[in-house]
């Protein structure tokens, strides 16, 4: 079955530290991949997406993600975290035979001063 896994439920980093949020997918073929961020009380905002081509994609707010086919992963990274990055992050995938996004369970990011 198609699935998206975010192994880390909760991560805490210090402000200014680097960040990597993990995402793995299970699909028959390479799906379209997305990262969304949800701030408290807000809807989901698209950070970045991967469809094809260059495996390192740049997004908004200084985020980037790297697609690794061999590992079925699409990890989100940021070199220096800001306090305003505290939020919940969702990885999602869209298979080519469906119009439905499959979401991971999310990773809640806390940022320490």
């Amino acid at each position: 079955a198609q699935s998206v896994t975010q192994p880390d439920i909760h991560i805490t980093v210090s402000e200014g530290a680097s960040l990597e949020l993990r995402c793995n997918y299970s699909y028959g073929a390479t799906p379209y991949l997305f990262w969304y961020v949800q701030s408290p009380g807000q809807g989901l905002q698209l950070l970045l997406k991967y469809f094809s081509g260059d495996t390192l994609v740049q997004g908004i707010k200084g985020f980037e993600a790297e697609f690794k086919r061999s590992q079925s992963s699409f990890n989100l990274r940021k070199p220096s975290v800001h306090w305003s990055d505290a939020a919940e992050y969702f990885c999602a995938a869209l298979g080519d035979a469906t119009n439905k996004l499959i979401f991971g369970t999310g990773t809640l990011l806390a940022v320490q001063p």
Binding site: Y36, G43, L44, A92, N99, K100, L101, G104, T105, G106
Partner: protein
């Protein structure tokens, strides 16, 4: 341009009452989705509209849930005889090509 809007932002209702949630998609987006997000969980697909095609209702959890969409505009999600387990954030998204854009959600609390 305007994003996806949803109303109301918050809704508190009593068990057994019906509720109606509204979604205004981005103009020109032919596809519209409803999701449910329970506390501490990811997003759960409910229903999908694409143009004039029959909606994909495969995610609706029970026959108490229904949704309608008028053409390529507003959609309403109706929950009849609400139960406490219906308490959640209900998110709407509209899509252009492969990318979905989400509204702020409606927070439903069933007492």
């Amino acid at each position: 341009g305007a994003g996806v809007s949803q109303s109301p932002s918050n809704k508190v209702t009593e068990k057994g009452k019906d509720v109606e949630l509204r979604c205004d998609p981005i103009s020109g987006h032919t596809a519209l989705y409803w999701y449910r997000q329970r506390l501490g969980q990811g997003l759960e697909f409910l229903i999908y509209f694409q143009g004039n095609s029959a909606p994909d209702k495969s995610g609706l959890p029970s026959d108490r849930f229904s949704a309608e969409r008028t053409g390529e505009s507003v959609s309403t999600l109706t929950i009849q005889r609400t139960q406490q387990e219906d308490s959640a954030v209900y998110l709407c998204a509209s899509r252009t090509r492969e990318t979905q854009y989400f509204g702020p959600g409606t927070r439903l609390l069933v007492l």
